[in-house]
Every structure is written in C-alpha cells, then in structure tokens.
Symmetry: C2
Subunit: 604 residues, 2 copies
C-alpha cells in the first residue's frame, strides 16, 4: 500500500502518473475487498468505480468543485482518497464511517444520499446558486445508470438550462441496478454495450434533447482515456454528460461473475470470495414473504407482484423466475410502482402485491393516497425493512412510515410479530377489501409451519394475561415485551402482553376491555416514537373517556439515527428490555407496590 | 340545445354527422360557460377539449374502452356526454358532481384524478391486466402537456412495453400548464406550435424512443381530422401517441386571450366574461404571502422562491415578473422542486422559499426527508391551500400533511392564525435555522399592517385567559375558538384560548403551565383529526406525567371528504362553533357546574 499511504487528501492524486494511478487503483481495490470481507457493504459497485473516481479527483478540485454522489453506492474510493482511508475499516460500524455520502464526515461529501435519483436535482440547485452568486466552480453530479430513470432525475433532466456552464453529469454506467436493469432507458437508450468503442446514436440523441452534450462512451477502467475525456468535459461551455462504461465487481472474479449477489455483501473470505456460512438457521421475514407469495402465486393466477428494483432484497426472485409475467420489476420508480399497482387492481387483478422498502415508500405517499386509497383498491403493500436498517443507517431506516400511512383514510396498517403471523396476514389480507400495508423488518423470525389462521381485520391478540400493566408491542417487539415482563415479575408486577397486529384499525374493543381492569399501558415499537403506534394508542385512550389511564411510549427518539449494529442502536435508543423495564418501574412507581402506586396517581 | 338534449349516453354521439358534432360542440361550450359563470371551475382547459373528447367518444366505446383522464382538468365534456349533463349545473357544489374524474359518479370515470401525472402509469396497469386476462379493449390515457413532464409520467413512459397493443396515449397539448409551460419537454421537444401542419422531428423522436408511435400533430378542434387520426391510432398494432393541438379557452374570447386567468375561475358574467366584483375587501393568506415574499426579495438578493407550476395560485407572479431569475417555476415536479431547493440552500442561497400546495407536498415527502431535513437545511416551505379546498374536493384538501411533516426530525411546522402572523413567521423563519413548513389556507384574513413581531421558534401564545378549559386552536381556527368561548360563557365556563402557532416544536412550556391550573383541554384544527395537532397534544399530555388532564380533539374525520362549500363541509364535519361547544359541554359535563364536574372525573 505504498502509494495509498501518501494519499491523505485528493491533492496528492494530481501528481501521480497514469502508471501510479493504476497501482493506486489496485491498492484501493485491495483495501475495499479486505474491509468489505469483514464489515460487509456495497462491494461490486465500488469495485467498478475506482478508476472513475480517481480520474475525477485528478481532473477536478474537490471540495471547491462539487462531486454530488447520487445514491452513493459507489462512494468508497472517494472516501478513501479524501482523508478517510484510516477510518475506512470502521465503515458501517457504530460510530464509524457511514456507507453512504455523509456531509458530517467530510467537506468532500455535500449531501446525504441513499435514496436514488437526487443528484441531478441537487446539482442544478448548487449550480444555480453558484451562478447567482457569481462563484466559479464545477458542479458534478455522479449517477449510476439505474437512478437515471428515477422520476426525480427525469424531472431534473427536463430543467437543465441550455446555457448552464461548468455542469458535468457523470454517468457511471455499469448496466445494472442492484439487480438487472429494466426499462427503455436502460435497455434501448443506453443499450447493452459490448465495447466502449461503439457510441450509440440513440444515447447521444437522448441526452442531446435535454441540452446535455454527450461525451463518450469511455472505458471506465482506462485511466488515461477517462482523464482525457474529463478534461474535454471541463473545457466545454455547455452542460455535459460523460458516459463511462464500468464493470461491477471489476478486479474480484467472484463479484465480477455475480454482481447481483456481490452488490451488497455480508462478510466473506477475501481470498476465495466465498461467504462465511451463516450461523443463523432461522428464516427471515423477507424470505418467508418471498416463499409465501410464490406459494400463493402457484395457487392463484390472478396474483401479481411489483418491485421497484428490489427483486433480490425483497425475496421475489424465485417468483420472478417462475412467473416472469406476473412479477414485475419497474426499476427505481416507487411512484410508478404504486400507481401501476392501482391500475392493475382496478383492471381486475384480484391480488396485487407491491413490495417496497419502508423507507422508499416515502416516495409513493401521494400515489397511495390518490391512486389506491381514494378508490379503496385492495392493493397489498409489503413494507420490507420496516424498522432499523442497522448498517445502512440514516437514509435507510424504515421508521417514519406509520405516520403517513395511518393518516390516509381506508389504509390498513399491520405488522406481524413472527413468520407464522406474516403468512396469516398475507393469506388473509385480500379478504379485507382495502389497501393494506404489512410492515416487517429484515430480521430472523420463527416459522413453525403451523396451519394458517385467518386474521380478521383489526383484531389484536392478548399473548399473555397479567393484571398490573398492559404492554402493547408492535411486531417483533413482542419478544422484547416478554423479556420486559420477566424483569417486571421480579418486582411482583404481572404484565399483560398485547400484540395489536393492526396499527390501523386499532383493536379498540380489545383495548377497551383491558382498560376496565388495567390503569397502566405501555407501548413498544421500533419506529419513531411520536409518529407511530404509541401516538395512536395515546389518542384512543385520551378520547375514550376514561380518565385514569396512563400510557408510556417507548420507541425511537425524534432524531435521525446513524448506522451501527442493531444491538448498539437499540441500546442507544433505550429500547432494551432492561431499560424499558426500569423506565416502567420508575414512571409508575410500581416498585413500591400497590399502595404507593395508588398514592402516586391519586387513585385512593 | 337540440342535439345535446338527446345525448344521454356516449352511444348517441356515434350516429352524428361531422356537422352535427360541430353544433354539439357549440352547445357543450355554451353549457360549460353558463355553468362555470355560476359555479366557477376549470374553464379554459375544458373549452379547449370539447372536440377532442367528442372525437374520442365517436371512435371508441366507453366504458369498455377506458378513457383515463390525467389530472382531469379537461373532463367536463366527457361528463356531459356520459349521462351527467342534467347534473352538470351541480358541479363543484356540495353533493353535486365533482369537478374532477370520479368513479363513484359514473362507470365512465375509472380513477380519481386531480394530482397530475398518474394517467400513463394507471393505464399501463389496466392494460397489463387486460392482457393477462386476455380481454379485448382499448386503454386510452388522456394527458395534457404539463403532466407529461411529471416524474411519474416519465417513469411510466420508461416502462411502456414495445409490444403493447391497443394502448393509445392522447396528448392534449394546449401549450400550457395552469400558467405558462416550462422545461425542455415543453419548450423544445413539443415546441411552440404555430400550425398543426408542421410535425416536428424532435417530437416524433422523443416518443419513438419510448416505443410510442407518433401520430400527429392534429388540429384538436377539427373533428374530421381528429376522427381520421383516432381511427388510424385504433388500427395500429403498437402503442401510439396521438398529439392533438388544442387551444385553451377556445370559443370564449376572454378565456382565449387570457387562459391563465380563465384556467380556474370564480363566477363571472357569461356575456362579457368579466368577473363579478369580489364582495371581499380583505386579503387572503396567499396574497399576503406573495406580497411579503416580494418585499423580502426586494430587500435581500439571496432570497429565491420556487413553485411547481403554481406561480399564479401561490401569488408569486409579481415576484416572478420582477425577479425572473429568483422565482423559478419548475413545472409540475414537486419532488424536483424540493430537492432543487435543498441544492440551493446548500449552495449558499440564504433564503430559499418553496411554495407548494399542502396536498401536493405529499409528492415530496422523501425529498423533504433526505434532501432537506437530514441535512437540516433552512429551506422554508409555504404550504398553500392547507385545510379544505372546498370546490375542488377530495384530491385537493390539504388535510393530511401534519402527520408526515411532524414525523420527520428537524422539521418545524407552523400555522399563522392571520395575515399579520403570517408575515411575522416569514420574517422570522430563517432565524430558526431549520427546515420550516408554514401552512395556511386560501382564505381571507386580517392584516392590520402592524409592525412585524419576531417569532421565536416553538413559542405559542395565550390569546385570552380563562380558567375552566383550554382551547388550543390551529391557525384560522382561533376565530372559531373565540366563538366557542362565547357560547361556553353562556354556561359560565371561561375558556382560555391558546394559539400554539407551532405544531412542532409544540410549546410544551406553555402547555405545562396551563396544565397546572386547567384539567380540560380541547384542540381544534381543520386537518384530519387523528393525524394532526390534536394527536401531538394528546401525546404530550399523556407523556407529561399529569394524570388528571383530559383532552378532546376536534378536526376532520378519518375519511375522504368530498367537495362543497366551505360552510357545508365544515358543518358536516362538526367543525362549527355551536357543534364544538355542545360537544365540549357534553363531554365534560360542564353544564352541571363544578361539583358535578369533579364527581364526573373523580377528582374529589
């Protein structure tokens, strides 16, 4: 790592020869593979963008010239050469470097990213400011090919001023999203390249329409060519797109051969590229979802599933392979995914399932509102990655969705506590005849294989009956509730545990019954505390007319949450059984027994 | 109205001659002008689409063939000829016809619309279902030119299958959004047409890229030409776009000359086209916003404003005229508007104001989340049309936004009760150094011209001090609170009225103080009741540790609300001073005086 050792800032790159840059590329690849083999992370896309990033730093002056990474799946080399190489082994770890662009880490990162398609729009804003303030610098949004087809990118493309100067869009075209690319822009306009020597007329025309002078395509691994073309872009007096063809997984045979598997990796053996055998034998919620949906699709030809670019992550790949016509990847286009689903349901498909990560559903709120809920179409939304996304962090946590989902009339919001219940809900949800959101985390869970139980809309369950306090726990947090109960038992407090299953409609009958003989209620959820289940329970209790019920809410604090291990994040948020039990004991003064309790609440 | 009398279903159109269709067009225009002159509504766009709609019904068989109206600003003729002409005079009235597409009204309306850009995506869903189920019909999304550049439309455009049959996109190109069209697709790709005889190569190429066979342009007011071209489209074995050039306001000189003013009209004189003099001398919130922002822009060159296609409605037109470089219309692209605003704020513009209708902000939640709030950029969002949009109805009410705005960390949410306070907030908000949403309705309000008061973040106000009940009223509902207070005084109940000003951060210090000597709290808001201020107050009170506080929430019910006069909608929702006062008296049994009250709440 001789050359890399001296790269403490991007300035140092400028004095290197092409040969030295090549060596540096190898050293960076080695570092990325080594760290990813331990930490896991976005491997294939970062291996594909080493030379491109070095060439950019060679030609431009960051941070004066602004590299705006879209999605930032491809930012590792940039992090390594902008003073963060020593911290690189901490990437995606608690209090370590973020796996995505992070302005708090470095002046070389300008915007948070993670949700795709924002780079061009942000870049236009930065460039407009620069021009109004008569500053002089380059604005350089860096996109991969998949985010190019996001609605947001296309909206921005439509607004590139003809006379905009020093604006260079870098298209890092590796021909893929996380999975295979889809859509006309990918398939026909960018086309499937075989050689960088063949510029396609269609590609040029497409960008030309939007005032972007097309430069390329260029071999994204040829440093000399990249630098030459970037210098040409730099000299242009109109907005430019530089089209670099890169290869996902470049430099690591396993990742090169299977870039889908090696897009986001768990730890692996750096020599062989083989993944360590998983210590977990249990299934995860997404896997159970995938299996169950395939089973239902086998039985019912009117079932159709939609995924916005996440067939693998959502475990719909087997379905897609079996029924390519009934499992549709629409690319990174969450809005279209949901509105299209509305069209399918209206058209007459009996079972339309749209699988979207909870955090990305923030992009389709209006589509849910107007194109599904308003018409009360029975589309089922499988909100994957609901809850914390530990290593991905801030942009990826699915912890705000309950707020807007419960705000919209007609929409059902449910969360299963285990794999069995997830299957129950999937088998039952089309009976409810309403848009239904079923949220679940990417987490191992129990699946006993018991018979399906048909679940009535809005029916919760008492998991264990006590008498002193009711713990209402959302989804997998029911497990935590059992542990809290055990701790409370040591103080002779017997908790009743309720799985509401439905956040909306809330099982108010059940709560009402419990309010007759319990005065203390606790809610536990892995969601922003003042935007979720707790708030719904608070409001129900407050409007119920009971005057002596107290509710204590546990959830994630009202702040953005960084990345880290699940355990460290939950601990920091106070969402461990020990902390919750302690807080219950304190707040309710239950430690002192019944008489003190009554005194505390003036119930005597 | 001889011909129109017999048009009780679209079938009847098919037997008419071209000459008769022309007469029918005139009769329909007359009816539209007559009804709009009384009811107000979308005038210019509907006058422009009479012939096109008739030609569509002449050639296709609705409802088997599915006309999917995007936005549906242009649906009146369709309503008139699909059995709703007798009800047409009730349009936009309480319990009358909706001004937009409405599936509950007619089997000829398939989807709700109002928010732009959904037609193509919905159409693809319907067509996919048709093909999977081997049905035979045409799917015909009908778009105007402005929604063509929505991100959602572009996402769908990218996913039109090459081999899709019987799919005909109708582009009703009147060259405008509500205001002037903007963006490259409008300016260059569709181009400014002077004559329908000149097809533009660029236009054809653009659609061709996305597998749409281009037919046109055709004079959208020439019935014979339209029918000929639609028959050609009908016979095509690939997906087609029919490009019809229409003229907003066609057939009414005033509307033709000034289609912006006559896009959405208030009642006017049908002969002269002149608007009735407004009986209101007071200013509206949007007008005060527009004036204030212009004043601030005069004083500060680093103030910039963005509007997604609403310069007129948002009262930014004077600003735009004065400083075209600092007031930017990005077209119907709410996502881009917000992300672009993030770019501007990061770039260094000190005061970035993004004006968006509250209901349309549902399209930019994720942009607010990642591109503004995560980075804590001090962009100010002016959420116009917050609250009911009476005549527009279901799709346009801005009554759900508080749910998701308050869920996102860092975001300030405020609402002024009058024009003076709106100006205070606008002058103060950039001091808070956070993303701030200032919501206000399109409603007349007081503006005394008093000096600006600098408003501290999260500081509410006691408007009048009482002792028995605290009424927390949001924005203009403070007026209602005063009336409620007067009614309660008749029962010897003295209410304290609080204007929280901020929904987030809530003035918890103020509430805490009031909780020391009040036990009864009431919240009043013109927002979905379980997704707004009331819920925030409930949760604060519940977590405060006080055990004897009761809160009663008044707001809009958890259901979609139709159109109608403001008064009728508020009455139906129970949001009149009388109904609120009555409910307070009942719930709190305050009528019986203090002793009964104590007994009721076991406070003795």
């Amino acid at each position: 790592m001789k050359i890399l050792t001296n790269i403490t800032s991007p300035e140092a790159i400028k004095s290197l020869s092409i040969e030295e840059l090549k060596v540096l590329s190898s050293e960076i690849r080695e570092l990325i593979i080594e760290v990813m083999s331990k930490n896991g992370g976005h491997l294939a896309s970062n291996l594909g963008s080493v030379e491109l990033t070095l060439a950019l730093h060679y030609v431009f002056n960051s941070p004066l010239d602004k590299f705006i990474f879209d999605t930032s799946h491809q930012i590792y080399t940039h992090k390594i050469v902008t003073g963060r190489k020593d911290l690189f082994p901490t990437i995606r770890k608690f209090q370590g470097l973020s796996g995505f662009a992070s302005p708090t880490e470095s002046i070389h990162d300008h915007f948070y990213a993670g949700h795709a398609g924002t780079g061009l729009s942000l870049g236009l804003g930065v460039a407009k400011t620069r021009d109004l303030q008569k500053e002089d610098s380059y604005v350089i949004p860096i996109l991969s090919d998949a985010p190019l087809a996001c609605g947001l990118t296309l909206e921005a493309l439509n607004h590139i001023p003809k006379d905009l100067k020093k604006f260079i869009l870098i298209l890092n075209d590796n021909g893929m999203a996380i999975s295979h690319g889809v859509g006309t822009i990918h398939n026909d306009i960018l086309g499937k390249f075989t050689s960088p020597d063949k510029p396609k007329k269609e590609t040029e025309t497409f960008f030309d329409q939007f005032h972007l002078k097309y430069l390329g395509p260029v071999d994204g691994h040829n440093l000399a060519d990249l630098i030459t073309l970037l210098l040409k872009a730099k000299a242009s007096d109109q907005p430019v797109i530089v089209h670099a063809l890169t290869i996902k997984g470049c430099g690591m045979p396993k990742a090169y051969e299977d870039p889908i598997t090696y897009h986001g990796v768990k730890p692996f053996d750096p020599e062989s590229g083989k993944f360590h055998p998983s210590p977990l034998s249990k299934e995860t919620f997404p896997k159970i979802f995938g299996k169950q949906v395939l089973k239902m699709a086998n039985e019912d030809p009117s079932l159709i599933a939609i995924t916005p670019a996440m067939p693998g992550g959502s475990c719909l790949d087997a379905f897609m392979e079996t029924y390519p016509d009934r499992c549709i990847d629409v690319g990174i286009a969450e809005g279209h995914a949901v509105t299209f689903a509305g069209g399918l349901a209206y058209g007459g498909m009996q079972k339309v399932i749209c699988s979207i990560y909870a955090t990305f559903f923030q992009r389709a709120l209006d589509n849910l509102f107007q194109d599904v809920a308003l018409q009360n179409l029975p589309v089922v939304f499988a909100l994957d990655r609901a809850g914390l996304s530990p290593s991905d962090g801030t942009t990826h946590h699915g912890i705000f969705d309950i707020s807007f989902l419960t705000a919209i009339p007609n929409v059902v919001v449910a969360q299963p506590r285990d794999g069995d219940l997830l299957k129950d809900l999937l088998e039952s949800c089309f009976q409810w005849n309403k848009p239904a959101c079923i949220r679940y985390p990417n987490m191992t869970t129990e699946e006993t294989g018991r018979e399906i139980i048909e679940r009535d809309l809005g029916k919760g369950e008492i998991l264990i009956k006590g008498k002193d306090v009711v713990i209402i726990a959302l989804g997998h947090m029911c497990k935590c509730a059992h542990e809290v109960r055990n701790i409370l038992l040591e103080s002779n407090i017997e908790a009743t545990i309720v799985d509401p299953i439905f956040i909306k409609p809330l099982d108010t009958n059940l709560l009402f019954q419990l309010m007759l003989d319990h005065h203390y209620f606790v809610t536990i959820e892995e969601h922003a505390v003042y935007a979720g289940l707790g708030m719904c329970v608070n409001s129900f209790v407050m409007q119920s007319g009971f005057s002596d019920i107290q509710v204590q809410n546990f959830g994630l604090p009202d702040q953005f949450i960084e990345h880290g291990s699940y355990e460290s994040l939950m601990k920091e948020a106070g969402l461990t059984p020990e902390k919750i039990a302690k807080a219950i004991l304190e707040r309710f003064s239950l430690k002192q027994g019944a008489s003190a309790r009554e005194k505390h609440w003036n119930l005597s």
